[in-house]
Structure formats: C-alpha cells, structure tokens
C-alpha cells in the first residue's frame, strides 16, 4: 500500500531525474549534481530541491555533498522507468517508423502515464511484433504497405476483417447496414462477423455485392429490418454493424 502511495507521489519530473541518475550510474559509480544538471539540460540550482525530495522518499542517497547514488528501492524504480522508456522508444521508432527524435519525445511523455498492467501488455505486443516471425513473417512490411497505414497505397484486394467492426473510426469510416436510414438502398461490401454468425449471414444471402434495402427500424432503434432478394430479415445492431455496405452516390 505504501509503495503505491509513493509511486503516485513521484511526479514525472522526479521520475525523469531517477532515470537520468540511473543512466549516469551505468557509466560511473556515483552521480554528480553537475552531471545530472547537464544531462537534463537544467541549472544546477534546480537539481538540488528535486534530489532532496527524492532523498526524503528514500530513493536517493547523498554520499557527500554533490555526490549521489540510488538506494535499492530507487534503483528498482529507476529501472522500471528506464525500461519503459526504451521499449516505447523502440515501438515508435522501429515499429511505427517515426523519426528517432519524435520517438524519443513521445516515449518520454507516455512512460509516466501508463499503468503497470497496460505497459506490461504493450511490452508483450511489441515483443511479439518485433520478434515473432513465425506467426507473421512479413507482417510489419504488409502493415506499412496497407492502405490503413499508407495513404498512397493502392486499394487492398484482400477482404480485411476488422476486429473492431466499424466502430473504431466511425467518422468517415465504412458504412454498415446499421448506418442506413429507412428507404436507403445499398450494396454489401464486406461481412465482418465471425464464426457461426458469419456463416449464418452468408447462408441468408448476405454476401458481398448483394443488394439490400433498409425497410425500417424497430421502436427502440434496433433490430433493423432489411429487404434482400425478395426476402425480409431482421438483424440486431451488432449483426447489422458487421455488414459493411456501399451506398450508390
């Protein structure tokens, strides 16, 4: 419990100091205030109050005036912050292919605000993306060539099943049956449902290129009622959203 309180009290500026000290201590046995100020690009005068607070928290120990080192707890905290920083930098730089300066800056901003759980999962994803070549050999390559990522890319022939349905980018994103208003005619472009319900929709004739018309919606806004090939079907919101359509312009 106390540990959590301490962590919360550790502001991002203090975390940055810890990180800097940690980095300095990788190269030399002790850290001098002057070096810290230099690394952080601040005046030596503003370093001392920060160090004093870190010392009060028991994270930093003064060996002499001007010379500090990390206590065991301090070292642990610092290592945590530092490894976050490294992972995030790598993520922005080598996976999202951002310039290294921007990557560094975004990593600095992000490392303080993620929860341990969120960070842990992100780290696993990053490791998977970077290392797991057996599941997805040219996966990253394809990602950067995909129209989702690359605005100049030609339209992709593959039918992508977005795991978010159409909800992740609902402005300007693809339209689903659920977005139609009564009387609208449209043509099915993708069926994003999975598993048994996907097969059911396909069996009902909801296939790419099929023409559908939205007839009406139920009193509470769902289910929706569609016409398709002389038959009429009711779909709940979730199913209707899984069927993407193109509207004739």
């Amino acid at each position: 419990m106390t540990q959590q309180v301490e962590q919360r009290n550790l502001t991002s500026a203090l975390e940055d100091y810890l990180e800097t000290i940690y980095q300095l201590l990788q190269e030399q046995p002790i850290a001098r205030v002057r070096d810290i100020a230099k690394a952080r690009d601040v005046k030596a005068g503003s370093v001392s109050p920060a160090l004093k607070r870190l010392a009060d928290m028991g994270l930093v120990k003064y060996l002499r005036r001007e010379y500090v080192t990390l206590t065991p707890e301090g070292e642990e905290q610092a290592r945590r912050v530092y490894s976050r920083h490294r992972v995030l930098t790598r993520f922005f730089e080598s996976i999202l292919k951002m310039p290294s300066e921007e990557a560094e800056r975004d990593a600095c901003a992000m490392e303080h605000c993620l929860s341990d759980e969120g960070m842990d999962r992100l780290v696993r994803l990053i490791e998977f993306l970077g290392a797991c070549t057996s599941c997805a050999p040219d996966f990253l390559d394809r990602f950067h060539r995909c129209p989702l990522m690359n605005d100049d890319a030609p339209p992709c022939p593959d039918e992508c099943d977005s795991m978010w349905g159409s909800t992740i980018s609902d402005s300007g994103g693809p339209m689903s049956i659920f977005d139609l208003t009564p009387g609208d005619h449209a043509r099915v472009s993708q069926v994003n449902a999975r598993g048994a319900i996907r097969q059911r929709l396909l069996d009902m004739g909801i296939l790419p290129q099929a023409k559908v018309e939205l007839e009406r919606v139920a009193p509470a806004g769902e289910p929706v009622w569609i016409k398709l090939d002389g038959t009429q079907l009711a779909l709940r919101r979730q199913e209707a959203e899984a069927v993407l359509v193109d509207m004739p312009t």
């Binding site: 039918e159 097969q199 009711a234």
Partner: protein, 712 residues
Amino acid sequence: MSQLRLPIPEVTIRTIRVALAGNPNSGKTSIFNSLTGAHQHVGNYPGVTVEKRWGGFTAKGTDFNVQDLPGTYSLTSFSPEERIAQNELLDGGHDVVVVVVDSMSLKRSLVLLAQVMQTGANPVLCLNMSDEAERTGLRLDLGQMRKLLGIPIVQTVGHRGIGVDRLVDAVHAAADSPVRRPRLVLGERMEKAIGAIRGHMEPMHGAAGGRDWVATKLMMGEEEFVQRMQGVEGDWGGAAIEEAQRQRKWIESSTGQDVALFVTERYFGFVDGLLREVVREVPRKDARAVSDAVDKILVHRALGLPIFAALMYLIFWVTFTLGAIPMDWIDAGFGWLGEAITGFWPEGSESPLESLLVDGVIGGVGGVIIFLPNILLLFIGLALLEDTGYMARAAFLMDRIMHRFGLHGKSFVPMMTGFGCSIPGIMATRTLENERDRLTTMLVLPLMSCGARLPIWMLLIPAFFAPVWRAPVLWLIYAFGIALALVLALVLRRSVLKGEDAPFVMELPPYRVPTARAVLMKMGERSWLYLRKAGTIILGISILMWAATAYPSRAEYDVDAQIASGAITLSDEEIENARTAEDLRFSIAGRVGRTIEPLIAPLGFDWKMGTAMIGAFAAKEVFVAQMGIVYAMGETDEESQGLRETLARDYSPLTGVSLMLFLLISSPCMATLAVTRREAGSWRWAWLQFGGLTAVAYLISLVVYQVGSLLI
C-alpha cells in the same frame, strides 16, 4: 443343424424412406400433412417444427415412410433444431430427399438443394408456394431446369394439397431409378480443390457423391468432419485433412477471400447461373406489396407496440365476453344433468354414488368443461397470430425489450406459444441458438399463463371483479406474467446463466391469409385435447379428490353434543350446515388441507384452496375441479348458488388477487417439469424452475396480502 424354420411371408410391398428438407417456413409440414393426412402444427413463421416426425401412407403398392424435418438454411450447424435436420439429412439413409423450396425466394432456397446434391442424396425438388409465384407472374422453364439439374421437379401448393399426387409419383419414380446424378460443379478452383482432397479419400465407403461434401467440409475446417477423418483406419484420413488445409490456404491466398465466403459464393453462383437459364418471366408484381403495406401500420415505429398490446387485449376481451355466452348454456346443461341424476334417488337420500356423480364428476369435470368455449376462442386468437405471420413481427417489436432483460427477440415466440400450453412453448425454445438463452426462456416460460389456467381466471375473475373490469384484469394477469418472466430472466442471466448475447437474425415471412381449414383444425385439435384431458386425468383426480373430501365422515358430530348439552340452540338448517362443515374438516382432504393451512394462511388462503392447489400440480384445471367439489359437498340447501357466488361470499377480493397471483406464478404442472427436464437435460433445471417459481409466488402473494390487509 435342424431348426424349425418359420415360413417368411413374401414381401411384395416395399418401403420408400423419404425426408422433407428445406428452409424454415417453406411449407414442409404443410406438404407432410397433405401427404400423410397428419395434423402436425403449421404456422407462418420460421421454426414451427422443432422435431423430426415420421408419418406414412401407401400408394402405388408402396409404403412411403415420410419424415418431416425442422427447417434449415444450410447444412452447416447452427441452432439445435437445425442440427437435428442436418444430422438426419447427412446420416438418415433416406431413399429420397424432397427439398421443399419457397418459389418466392428461390435464390436462397436452392443453395440448400445444391448442398443436398453434394451429399450424394437422391433429391426431388418441390417448388412449393407456386400459387404465390403464379400470382406475381414468375414463370420458370421446368423442362430446362430438370435437364440442368438432372433431378425431378414438381410444383405444389402445400397447404391446399395441390400437386401432391405428382410429388408422390416423382418420389416413387426417383426411388426406382437410382440413375447416376450429375455431380454438382462449383467452378474451376473449387473443382481442383475438391479433386485434390478426394484423391486421398478413395478408401472411404459410401456414396461417391458424398465425398464432395466431406471434402468441402474438410476444407472449411469443420470440426465434426475433421474428427471423423481422424477416426478412420489407415493414414489416408490424416492425409485428406492435410490436403484440405493446403487447398484452403491456396484458395485463400489466390482469391483473397476466406474459405467460408468463397464456398458460399460458389453455391450462390451456381444458383444464379441456374436461374439465369430457367427464369422465363420475372415477377411483374411485387409479391409482397400488400404485406408490406400492412407492415407499414402494424410494425410502425411508434404505433407498433401499442397495436401489439391492443391486439392481445382484443384476444382476451373476445375470450371473455364471447366465451361467456355458450358457457352459460353448458353450465345450464350440467345443472340440468345434475338434477336429472339426483332425480333417480329418493329425496334426502345419502347415496355415495349420487354424491360421486353429482358432486365429484359434474362438480369437478363439469366445472372444467364449461370453460371449453373460452379455450377455443383463445386458441383461435393464437392460431390467427401464428398463421397470419404476425408472430414474427411481435418478435421483431419485442426484441429490444427482451434484450434488455437478457433474453432474445426469438424467445418471444415460444413465450407466446406458452399462452396455449407451456409444453410446446418449451419445445419451441429449440429455435434459440444459444444454450443460455434457451435455458433462461425455458425456465421462465411457465409464467406465461397457459390455456389450462384460463379456467381458473374464468372462475375467479367474475367472482371478485365487476363486469367492466373483467377483461382488463385478464389482460393484466397475462401482462404481469410476461413482466415477471422478464425480471426473473434478468436475474437468471445475471447469476446462474451468465454469458454472451446471442446474435439475432430472423426472417420475416409475408403475411398470409390463414385458411379456415387450418384454423378449424387447430381448434378441433385443441378442443379434443382439452376434452380428453377432462375425461382422463381430470376425471381421475376429481374422483380421488371427491373421495378424499367425502371420507371419512364423522359418526358423531360436535354440534349434536353441544346441542344435547344445551350449550347452544340452532335452527335445523344451521345444524345441517354445521354438520357438513365438520364432515369436510374431518375428511382426508380436510386434514391435509388443515396441515398445510398454517403455511398458506399468511397469504390469505384456507385449507380448501390448499387442497385444490395440491391437485393443481397434476393439471392446473384441477384447481377449478376441486373447488367445485369442495363447494358441491358443502352445499346443503336445494337452491344451490353458483360456485362463483359462493367464492365471492366466502373470500375477500384481496384474497382473490393473492390467490390469482399465486396460481399464476407457482409450481408449473408435472408435465411441464418433465418436459423441462428433458429439454434442459437434467433435473437440476426442472427443480430450479419448480422451487424458484414457487418461492417467488409465495413471496409475492405474501407481500400483496399482508400489505393489502394493512391498507384496507
């Protein structure tokens, strides 16, 4: 070895096994009924039939064994009732499979035909609803269609039995000529893939055509078929699985589509090609124009739900007011009969046989039978909802509300069926794909006030409510049942039956005008069932109840002792009344009733109601019968009052309300429990249903009666 050999009779008659397959609501059961003369349930919404049923008839010197199956959209498993049909079609060993299709939605229906052809079955195509097709001007070149498909094709009008004789001819001919049917070719890529997989399947037994089906399913990675292949002797099964995976990858990478979409598109492509060749004239008229116009009103966004509530109200109003007229006649008839029987015995005799006939049989069974007209009217109402197609609309309108309470729009159809009887309602839950939805619906379904409880309402409501209130109160009982079912469903879904929501995809058929024959048939069937129940189980229990109420009787009465000792003085009539009351309390029923009385007294019930409730566990109508018996036995004066008047005299309206609530909610009847056990798969659920509902009923009645007593 010398054994006695019995001469085996020459079998000249052969048997042809026929299955009726097709999309839901394509008219399979109508055709089945026309073929076999059966009266299986038909209705204008998908998912009426949920069980396989055999029927038979003889024609052309041949026995036909026909199997009606639940409807299915494709041969890929989904809901439990579809699985029944699929298993039967894949492994049923039928000589002929009649694929019944709705001529108005050929595209989707013929996909099923394509799949049946792939399984290597011997299909006959039955183009049903040809009357509707003709009316809209759709014309097909049947000759061309037969040539292209290589199978017999017959046009029918299922519910009128038109074309059914030709169907019999076609089935007979098809069974006799197992010609080599052309293989279904689904395009080049698919052919290559199937060919490659089939290459490994040479050792497989069975029809060569079926291999195409197995190969397709292996490619789609369907668990069941993969397991089947893993189970074969030799290593060719594994090789086939591997090949199927290779083909799947190849198809997916070369087309950019997943295999499910690819294969389904092939089927639809095949049907499109076929239809291009055989459709001579496309429909001139919109087949559903009228139906759509009606829907504009009935499922109107704002008016839909109020109209639904009003329709339900109309049904109860008719049940009540129209039903009252013939009810009075029947009542008078029984009154006359009772007097006629009494006439055989001398005035003032105490013959047990007279009491059995007049008090037990007429008081009990007669008391149930007089409600036959109400039952009939209720069932006409339900039959109209089913046969017109409104049922599917009700499910559409109610889905959102049902969803809020963790149920499914489709659950509403079994619930409406439950207004007739809980048993078919519980069976109808098979149309729900998700096991948890199914269990939840099943468990709360007895809260739908069934036809057997209608006599109870017909007895109690007029006893306690003024005429203007009667129909609204009846409506309220039903509405309260639905509301409580929803609340309990929510509780179940939040506790023992937690889980994901199931998808909701439902077809809405066009409205159809119900045939008088169909409605009369349903009515006739219901009246027969009701009368049969009255003549068997209710009669039996009435006699038991009569005996329990009549015996043992006292030899000496306390009143007489008190009068003799001079403690009280009473008129003759009062003495007679007191003696009868003592007899009743002394009888078995009286003792049992008084044992449980302390338990039910807080709800406002006395021991008479208690014994009637025990009887009601066997069949709900017995409640009415037993009340009739107890009061008939209690009657002493010649001018007998009606049972209702007696009830109104003896109990307060508050007791009436508490009683009605208890009877609505508490323990479902024995038959319902047995069906729940069977459909849910374990007694656990049946006991939960029994215990849970009874406990809730007790609580609600307790609160209503106690709070009510404080207020009044």
